[in-house]
């Protein structure tokens, strides 16, 4: 047996926090975001040969988002798009179903939208096309989500990888359809003209309105409805759900139909209102970004507006930074986002735990005890 080397107490030890005030919690998040942005701004300056002042990154970012009216509307629309997709993910995540397949679900919605526009265009009135493509895109998104859900419900098939693979299958289908529709080999489709969704006010507002409605809907769905209650019980404990007579399989499948349908709807907007075309990269990875956004929002639809705004702000802003700083490509945006994610994810440690450092003086434990016993549950 080896000797024990030190008899000294460790420098600190970790304990779980009981409660934390909202203010402190917000403070920790804000601190993390600020720290993340500061670090990335320094990194950008180091990596750039053109600029030397980290603050210039912020002015670039602001000009990228608020610089012109058009930029600002694009920012709002893209926030709304991301919000719509993140909202679709919320119920699934709340049920602890890892839907990593939003990319594919949105893409399928977009694909069938374009298919409708192409094949029905000119043959029936636009209103008819719109009606058909709305239904079709919602169904396509739902179908793409419900397939993994059925297998998860009946055989406990790993949904994380299943939904992920469905993304690549959807992408493959899109590439295939493009080769069918554009056999020339150009690999891209020209914008469709028939069956475009109507412009409300300007070209951006429709997406924003749809997402706003979805936000209100999702808020009430999750917090007040019986469906929302059921899915949170399933997420909390499947055993408990079964025990109180909830049909877990039904809830899983129903929730993923909703999740996929909403993704399909966002695909409709991307295809029918924004781009009028489809490509394998058209979703721009928002399915993944949406996962981060809904996680950071802790499943609250209203907070989600903020997290989506933040993420879109950073990506849009970084697009401008890239130009101003003379970066070769837009990959820098992902680097910055990734680092800020790390900070936000990591800061949760300080919300759940706190460190107690080795102390010289005796702590007054009676004081702690008295303060925590106030307004506390019983004791053990």
């Amino acid at each position: 047996m080896e000797e024990v080397k030190t008899v000294r107490e460790p420098l600190f030890h970790m304990v779980k926090r009981g409660n934390i005030t909202l203010l402190k919690r917000l403070g920790i998040y804000a601190g993390a975001i600020v720290a993340g942005i500061l670090l990335t701004s320094i990194l950008c300056v180091v990596a750039s040969s053109d600029k030397s002042n980290p603050l210039e990154m912020f002015s670039s970012m602001f000009s990228g988002v608020f610089g012109t009216e058009r930029r600002f509307w694009t920012f709002l629309r893209d926030t709304a798009l991301l919000l719509g997709i993140s909202l679709a993910l919320l119920p699934a995540f709340k049920m602890k179903f890892w839907n990593l397949g939003a990319n594919g679900q949105v893409l399928m919605g977009c694909l069938v939208t374009i298919a409708c526009m192409r094949n029905l265009g000119g043959k029936i009135p636009d209103a008819g096309i719109i009606a058909i493509m709305t239904v079709a895109s919602v169904l396509a998104g739902a179908a793409w989500a419900v397939i993994p859900a059925i297998f998860k419900a009946f055989f406990k098939t790993n949904e994380t990888l299943f939904t992920l693979m469905m993304n690549y299958v959807a992408q493959g289908l899109v590439v295939y359809m493009i080769t069918v529709w554009a056999p020339s080999g150009s690999g891209s489709l020209s914008p469709e003209v028939y069956g475009r969704l109507p412009n409300i006010g300007n070209g951006y507002l429709l997406t924003i309105i749809v997402s706003a409605i979805l936000t209100v809907f999702m808020f009430f769905y999750l917090s007040r409805s019986k469906h929302g209650y059921e899915l949170s019980v399933v997420g909390e404990s499947e055993n408990t759900a079964r025990y109180v007579g909830i049909n877990v399989k039904k809830v899983v499948i129903r929730t993923l139909i909703l999740s996929g349908a909403m993704c399909g709807l966002m695909g409709l907007l991307i295809g029918g209102s924004i781009n009028y075309t489809v490509s394998s990269e058209i979703v721009n990875n928002m399915g993944f970004t949406g996962i981060m956004a809904s996680w950071l929002a802790k499943f609250n639809p209203l907070v989600l507006i903020g997290t989506c705004g933040l993420i879109t702000f950073i990506s849009k802003g970084m697009g401008q930074v890239r130009q101003d700083f003379g970066f070769y490509n837009d990959a820098i945006g992902n680097v910055v986002l990734g680092i800020i994610y790390f900070f936000i994810i990591g800061c949760e440690f300080f919300i759940t735990y706190k460190l107690i450092f080795r102390k010289k003086n005796k702590t007054d434990f009676t004081a702690i005890e008295n303060s925590t016993q106030k307004g506390k549950g019983g004791n053990e």
């Binding site: 047996m1 080896e2 000797e3 024990v4 030190t6 008899v7 000294r8 107490e9 460790p10 030890h13 304990v15 779980k16 926090r17 009981g18 409660n19 009430f220 007040r224 409805s225 019986k226 469906h227 209650y229 059921e230 949170s232 019980v233 909390e236 404990s237 055993n239 408990t240 079964r242 025990y243 109180v244 007579g245 049909n247 706190k354 107690i356 005796k362 702590t363 434990f365 702690i368 005890e369 925590t372 016993q373 307004g375 506390k376 549950g377 019983g378 004791n379 053990e380």
Partner: protein, 539 residues
């Protein structure tokens, strides 16, 4: 002669954020070659204290001395270096490993598994254990697992052994065997701390008793100079009447009748084997058995959560097999199962009390929305009636203490006005006063004419509370006895299968009620119908 001190604790404090102090200025002395009982109610900080010695928790204050030298135990590894070994209540074993693999886990020494096997056999022979080093943990019974745990600690040469509630999962006979082993170890010069809240065991095994109450050190007494009554007073802090009521009631007709029930467990083994019994309104039927003898599967089958293989379950003369769980709940059959982690089933830990109140009733009422307002009212009423300690009805149950969590669960079940209550381990982990609240609730229901199936761990409690006790062994019914006419020893023998009362009275099945809700012809036809459905279902 001055006795040598093996271990000494001075002013140990451990504080859990959000809870009160688990240990407050605790002092403890353990002499070499003695067995010290650490006595206290559930939640009095016994396990926390022992975990600080074995390096699981870091104490916030205080000093630990071993052989007179001050030490700091930062991790379980340190504890082993100081030759301290702890046998945890929830065994720390890797299920898919063999006994030998578990034993050598973390031991820094060279040599092959063969040597391990010989050394394990040596230890086993010396103390009279029975063990197969190659057997996988998941194939073992609870007492075998405990044996592995003890050998694991001895293998590492521990001189100070800590056993946390080792008898909780053992039959009276197995307990005796364990005590014999402990006495042998004591003769070998080992120092032993045994955590327990069972007074008779304290008196039977230990040299001295140290008592904790609500995290505080109360005192230490010589076992020879004390008795159950004094110990109880030290443990609970005031005089308590240690008597569980068994109110006399009029037994009604059978509410729940079960005949020839067979159930499979998750891995396809037989969990319940041809069980027949019935519960009358106004009676409490206890179910005794060692852990994993089919209690869980039985509960789940009655509640409609687990398909059965064959047999009949009749509720008020109506077959409830195959009905969805929700329908069975609506018929007034309530099931609450407190698993080992105490939160796993029946409650949603991060939900508020209000939201937990709605768990079984949220679907009532028209419209797509849940009625949180009436649930809140019910929650507040329950908090008031059962004196649940909580800041508000919107506090997540996860933040409540064990006793209050169980009050919420049992209270919710009672509130629905069931006519059959199936409750498994409702007092698991509760202190004496909270336990008595639960017993009172059950007795109150019994007086109202509800039939209660009580699955318990503590035979003393069951003997006092239940009217009849059914004993299970490997899923087989060993007999159904009147609580007043049986003894703990008899129950223990039945639990291990050494005594089978059904063998003696083979001709008449005691599990069949004489005044059944159905005539024998009706039972027959139900049975045939069930069989037909089963074959139809298969084809």
């Amino acid at each position: 002669m001055e006795r040598q001190v093996a271990l000494e604790l001075k002013n140990i404090c451990k504080y859990f954020p959000g809870k009160v102090m688990a240990n407050k200025n605790v002092n403890l002395t353990l002499y070499k070659g003695e067995i010290l009982s650490l006595l206290g109610e559930n939640g009095s900080g016994k396990t926390t204290l022992m975990n600080t010695i074995s390096g699981i928790y870091a104490p916030d204050e205080g000093q630990i001395f071993i052989d007179g030298k001050e030490v700091v135990i930062k991790s379980p590894k340190d504890a082993y270096l100081y030759k301290i070994g702890m046998i945890h209540q929830h065994f720390k074993l890797v299920d898919i490993f063999s006994a030998a693999e578990n034993i050598i886990l973390g031991v820094k020494e060279k040599g092959s598994l063969k040597n391990v096997n010989t050394r394990v056999r040596e230890i086993a022979e010396r103390y009279g254990f029975d063990i197969d080093p190659k057997k996988k943990i998941y194939e073992m019974s609870v007492s075998e697992k405990q044996t592995v745990e003890i050998i694991k600690v001895l293998y590492r040469g521990a001189d100070i052994l800590i056993l946390d509630e080792p008898t909780a999962v053992l039959t009276p006979q197995e307990t005796e065997k364990l005590f014999a082993v402990l006495r042998k170890m004591k003769e070998d010069g080992k120092s032993i701390i045994i955590i327990t809240h069972k007074l008779n065991e304290v008196l039977a095994i230990s040299d001295r008793v140290s008592i904790l109450r609500k995290g505080e050190y109360v005192g230490t007494v010589d076992t020879a100079k004390t008795n159950q009554k004094d110990l109880t007073e030290m443990m609970v802090g005031k005089k308590v009447e240690l008597k569980i009521d068994r109110p006399k009631t009029e037994f009604d007709r059978p509410l729940l009748e079960i005949r020839n029930l067979c159930i499979n467990s998750d891995d396809g083994n037989v969990a319940i084997d041809d069980a027949s019994f019935y519960i009358r309104g106004g009676e409490i039927l206890g179910v005794a058995g060692i852990a994993g003898c089919g209690q869980k599967e039985l509960c789940e089958a009655i509640a409609g959560l687990r398909p059965i293989k064959s047999g009949l379950i009749m509720h008020k003369g109506e077959n409830i097999i195959g009905l969805p769980p929700r329908t069975i709940i609506e018929k007034g059959v309530s099931m609450s199962f407190i698993p080992e982690d105490r939160l796993g089933m029946g409650l949603a830990p991060s939900f508020s009390i209000t939201d937990n109140m709605m768990l079984k009733t949220y679907g009532e009422g028209k419209g797509p929305f849940v009625d949180r307002k009436s649930a809140r009212e019910r929650a507040n009423a329950l908090i008031k009636r059962l004196e649940i300690v909580t800041p508000s009805s919107e506090t997540p149950v996860r933040k409540l203490s064990g006793g209050n969590v169980q009050k919420v669960l049992v209270g919710r079940e009672i509130e629905a006005g069931p006519n059959v209550i199936i409750t498994a381990y409702p007092v698991r982990g509760l202190d004496i006063n909270s336990s008595y609240v639960i017993y009172d609730i059950l007795n109150e229901q019994k007086k109202k004419g509800t039939g209660v199936l009580f699955i318990g761990e503590d035979l003393d409690v069951m003997l006092a509370l239940c009217d009849k006790i059914m004993v299970l062994c490997h899923g087989k019914v060993m007999g159904i006895v009147h609580a007043e006419k049986t003894t703990k020893e008899q129950l223990g023998l039945m639990m291990t299968g050494s005594l089978d009362l059904t063998e003696e009275k083979k001709d008449k099945n005691l599990g069949f009620a004489k005044d059944s809700n159905l005539t024998e012809e009706e039972w027959k036809s139900e049975e045939e119908r069930q069989e037909k459905e089963a074959t139809d279902g298969r084809s």
